[in-house]
């Protein structure tokens, strides 16, 4: 069912979410703040991506992989019982049903195919919840590449299941032991690896962040979420669009993917951050991990450690395009507490028989809290992943 037309194309992009150009800027945000050693690699990557994306053969190979291997398109589910409970109409974009269990596979299939095209033989990735690591390990197995995944020591503990999955898939999982020992530190280690092995290694970055061209390239690979959802909503809503489109925001890849399908409509776009990792919420600009964006930091510029129940959102920064969308008022960003997330997690399981990942339980938590202000509306939420990986952690949290 997936045709060429369901993959993102230039003319499907709305002007506000367009090509950030050679300097990789989204308004005042973005850029390429990397060590000199990596500048040629980033430039080469941009060139390779532009040429691949203009190549119909690459596009159709990717769309075949997404359909026949990853299981796209993912459905949109009308949530009758949850809608009744919340008092408004809820639609879920089911990225949890993709192969490997989250939206991350869209980006990884694109980047792994690009890495192959560039002649790279080794993939490097960082991971928080382990979903991006699992997706990258999966692609490496599929394409016969070597794979190393950096993961904070704290996250290795709370997402053990995914560590085991990565090992089964043949990846080498290396603990990041510095700083907060979470996602931020895993990114540092991945960048250090890349600096040393830039000639044969491809850094498969897992969110819409990092130096140009990553924020734009990762968004482009996830636009498939928004394009499908736009069509699916049109069918369900008599040609209309939802009133609100919402998604959780860590680095911001699943959110940017679904937002891109609705940026040129009057749907309200709402990103939901964890209270302990609300980079956009705090609105302080900074530069780390290759780009200028909003960044949690102290008064002299030391990056603060995020704190969240969800390993995938436990990150003090955010992708630069989200900072820009917030800046121009096209999207707004709300935050929820860990307690609200635990409730959101259970709410979906109880009412719809779907156990969500803790990351997207953030969007559910916001939807539940805002039931009064959302009354009567139609809300499309990106269910970015399934919660199997979180079950052991939730057994502890819920004291069972």
């Amino acid at each position: 069912m997936l045709s060429e037309g369901t993959l993102p194309s230039e003319d499907a992009q709305s002007p506000i979410m367009g090509d950030p150009g050679a300097s990789g800027r989204f308004g005042q945000f973005g850029g390429q703040f990397v060590p000199e050693t990596l500048v040629p690699a980033c430039q080469e990557l941009e060139k390779a991506f532009r040429s691949a994306w203009a190549d119909q053969e690459f596009r159709s190979e990717l769309s075949t992989l997404l359909a026949d291997y990853a299981g796209r398109p993912s459905p949109v589910t009308e949530c009758h019982r949850l809608s009744e409970e919340l008092g408004y109409r809820v639609l879920l974009k089911r990225e949890d049903l993709n192969h490997t269990g989250s939206h991350k596979i869209n980006n990884v299939m694109g980047q792994a195919l690009l890495a192959k095209r560039m002649g790279k033989t080794r993939l490097i990735a960082e991971t928080g919840a382990g979903q991006h690591g699992v997706a990258t390990a999966t692609a490496a197995a599929l394409f016969g590449m070597e794979c190393r995944v950096y993961m904070g020591e704290v996250d290795i503990e709370r997402q053990k299941l995914n560590v085991f999955r990565m090992n089964l898939l043949g990846a080498d999982v290396v603990p990041a032991m510095s700083g907060s020992r979470t996602l931020k530190d895993a990114v540092n280690e991945a960048m250090r690896d890349w600096v040393a092995k830039v000639e044969d290694s491809y850094y498969c970055l897992g969110s819409a962040m990092g130096p140009h061209p990553y924020p734009w390239m990762v968004r482009t690979f996830h636009e498939v979420i928004g394009i499908e959802a736009r069509e699916q909503c049109a069918r369900l809503l008599d040609g209309g669009v939802p009133d609100v489109v919402t998604a959780c925001v860590g680095g911001g890849s699943n959110a940017i993917g679904i937002f891109s399908g609705f940026a040129d409509t009057d749907a309200e776009l709402v990103g939901v951050e964890p209270a302990g990792g609300a980079a956009v919420g705090r609105k302080v600009p900074g530069v780390v991990h290759g780009s200028k964006s909003y960044l949690m930091q102290d008064e002299v510029g030391q990056v603060l450690e995020a704190e969240s129940i969800s390993a995938g959102l436990d990150y003090p920064g955010v992708g630069p395009e989200h900072a820009h969308l917030a800046d121009i008022g096209r999207a707004r960003y709300e935050s929820v507490t860990d307690d609200e997330v635990v409730e959101g997690f259970q709410l979906l399981a109880r009412t719809e028989g779907i156990i969500p990942a803790l990351e997207c339980a953030h969007a559910l938590a916001w939807m539940s809290r805002e039931r009064e202000s959302l009354a009567g509306k139609t809300v499309l939420m990106n269910l970015s992943g399934r919660g199997d990986k979180d079950v052991a952690q939730m057994m502890d949290v819920l004291g069972r």
Binding site: S23, P35, E36, N188, V195, V288, V300, V303
Partner: protein, 261 residues
């Protein structure tokens, strides 16, 4: 062309006298006696000193400098405390600060450049601010009289090196290997290569750093380069509590080796 600043002036003077340039790196705020260490390093024959202002996420640094950063930060070091101590120190040889761009960006480019100048710092290295992103920083630094030292890496294509050299002030920092800071058992061939390539396109002093960890390696690369930056080897000494004297001794060994050639 801009005027030659204090840092570059001192380095050129050493080169013109037929000597090789030695710029040690020390982590600012590491230990109570780090200012004494600064004096000891100057007295041991350094031509200039790089002072690291610790940053929470040093992506260009290996385990040694990461640990030094962490220790300095947890003992309460801040950019302000480090600069205040430098201002009081009365060191005569030129000083450069090395930190990551967010520290400058957070303060504001102009404010940070002015703070450096007020503390008596001559130059600044921001390893995550490559040529294409230098604009707003170099405007502020130039205005405050701060020399911005740019890095040139082995991965740079030939056409890129002259552009880096053109914009760099103080010296041109040749990155000796593909990788992060740290002591290696031998000098990478890329160290000689980058020195050769840079010397072919610039008259500015060319120093090689990253992976230059022993006096022998310093001598070897200085057969082509004008001199070296030595970081992790020095910081290792600081971390092992060698004290200002112990660090000074190591710097003196590098000086003696370079002078003997």
């Amino acid at each position: 062309m801009s005027e030659i600043g204090k840092f570059e002036h001192a380095l050129r003077a050493r080169r013109e006298s037929g000597g090789k340039i030695l710029v040690p790196y020390i982590t600012g705020g590491l230990g109570d006696d780090w200012i004494e260490t600064l004096h000891a390093v100057a007295a041991a024959g350094a031509d200039g000193i790089e002072i690291g202002i610790p940053f929470s996420d040093p992506v260009m640094d290996g385990p040694t400098i990461q640990e030094a950063n962490d220790r300095a930060l947890s003992s309460g070091a801040t950019p302000q405390s480090i600069l205040a101590a430098v201002r009081e120190s009365d060191i005569e040889i030129p000083l450069a600060v090395m930190t990551y761009y967010n520290i400058a960006f957070r303060a504001g480019d102009t404010r940070f450049a002015t703070d450096l100048a007020d503390a008596g710092i001559s130059a600044c290295i921001l390893p995550d601010l490559p040529l294409e992103e230098t604009g707003s920083w170099t405007d502020a630094a130039d205005a405050a009289g701060i020399e911005t030292i740019l890095l040139a890496a082995p991965t740079a294509p030939d056409e890129r090196l002259p552009r880096i050299c053109e914009r760099s002030r103080g010296f041109v920092y040749g990155v000796g290997l593909l990788g992060i800071t740290g002591v290696r058992s031998s000098l990478a061939t890329s160290a000689m290569d980058i020195a050769t390539r840079l010397k072919a396109v610039t008259d500015k002093p060319v120093l090689v750093g990253v992976g230059v960890g022993t006096p022998e390696q310093a001598v070897e690369v200085s057969t082509v380069a004008d001199g070296v930056v030595v970081g992790s080897a020095i910081v290792n000494r600081m971390l092992s509590n060698a004290g200002p004297e112990g660090v000074g001794e190591l710097v003196a060994e590098f000086r003696a080796a370079l002078d003997a050639g």
